[in-house]
Amino acid sequence: MPPPFSWIVAVAKFLYDFIVGDDWTVAAAVGIGLILSAILNANHIVAWWLIPVIVVGMLGVSLRRASRRSR
């Protein structure tokens, strides 16, 4: 691959590994959680609790998936 494209691919790969890592569902859940929080807030519904709940829940899901993979 010629340099400009290889650099773009390398940067994109770094950003994906950095932000998303090896479990994309956690990043997706955080993104969806932020969108839902914004929607709740726009409708004047208390929304600060949603992301902490998602963090606690998704950690459990991701840990369970990782321990199944390692068996």
Partner: protein, 241 residues
């Protein structure tokens, strides 16, 4: 004279709160990933910050901090959750003993010849966001009280004092086992990430900044619970003797 001291003390204390968050991230990342790239990332952050402050000056108070908090918070949270999860798994699997760095499965400190961009990026983000918040505090208080010079001394003084404390503590932080450190930094990044992302959406936390230690308690309790569950799961898989 009273006004001068009031501006100095107020900007110092308000900036110190932001500087603690900045130094916590830099020291945590440095101790976990290695210091060279982390310090270059922090220095790059201060460089960008200096340019932004010099170019924008008093107009800084008009920069929208909300979207910046949302982006940085979301990035810190998604990244922090990776370390949070890996830290739980490693501490659950190997406990606190014998994980002083010899285990090849441990989160390795960067030893390559080039830059560790992960460490650089985390330190850079932490310094730029928190540094901008210190700059906002300085500009707001300084311009409001017509004491910009004194406010600058308060803000810079807070960063120097808190940074010095962080520097003094970094050897102590290095003695913490790597897996535990990864878990601690993962929890801290997730805590600040959660706080900033929600603030960035314009949502108020109950108790304002006091929500940070409460989030920290929640995530520490979560980590302890999952470590216990992972251990029980591993024990349950062991064949009967």
């Amino acid at each position: 004279m009273t006004g001068l001291w009031a501006v100095l003390i107020t900007t110092f204390l308000a900036s110190a709160v932001e500087a603690i968050e900045m130094v916590t991230i830099v020291v945590g990342v440095g101790a976990t990933r290695g210091w060279r790239s982390t310090l270059i990332g922090a220095a790059s952050g201060f460089g960008v910050l200096a340019v932004v402050v010099v170019v924008l000056g008093a107009a800084l108070s008009r920069v929208p901090i909300g979207p910046l908090r949302l982006i940085v918070g979301a990035l810190l949270l998604t990244f922090g959750l990776q370390w949070f999860r890996k830290g739980i798994m490693r501490v659950a699997a190997r406990g606190l003993a014998g994980i002083g760095g010899q285990d090849p499965h441990e989160a390795a400190e960067w030893t390559g010849p080039g830059m560790d961009w992960t460490a650089w990026f985390l330190a850079f983000k932490g310094v730029v966001l928190e540094g901008l918040e210190v700059a906002f505090i300085v500009v707001t208080f300084g311009a409001g009280a017509n004491q910009l010079g004194v406010a600058v001394i308060g803000g810079v003084g807070a960063i120097i004092v808190v940074g010095g404390i962080g520097l003094a503590l970094h050897q102590t932080v290095r003695r913490i086992p790597r897996s535990l450190l990864q878990l601690i930094v993962g929890i801290l990044l997730s805590t600040f990430g959660t706080f900033w992302a929600i603030e960035g959406l314009g949502i108020d936390w109950p108790g304002g900044d006091a929500a940070i230690p409460l989030l920290l308690v929640l995530y520490v309790a979560t980590a302890l619970t999952y470590i216990a569950l992972e251990r029980n799961r591993a024990l349950g898989l062991r064949p009967a003797a």
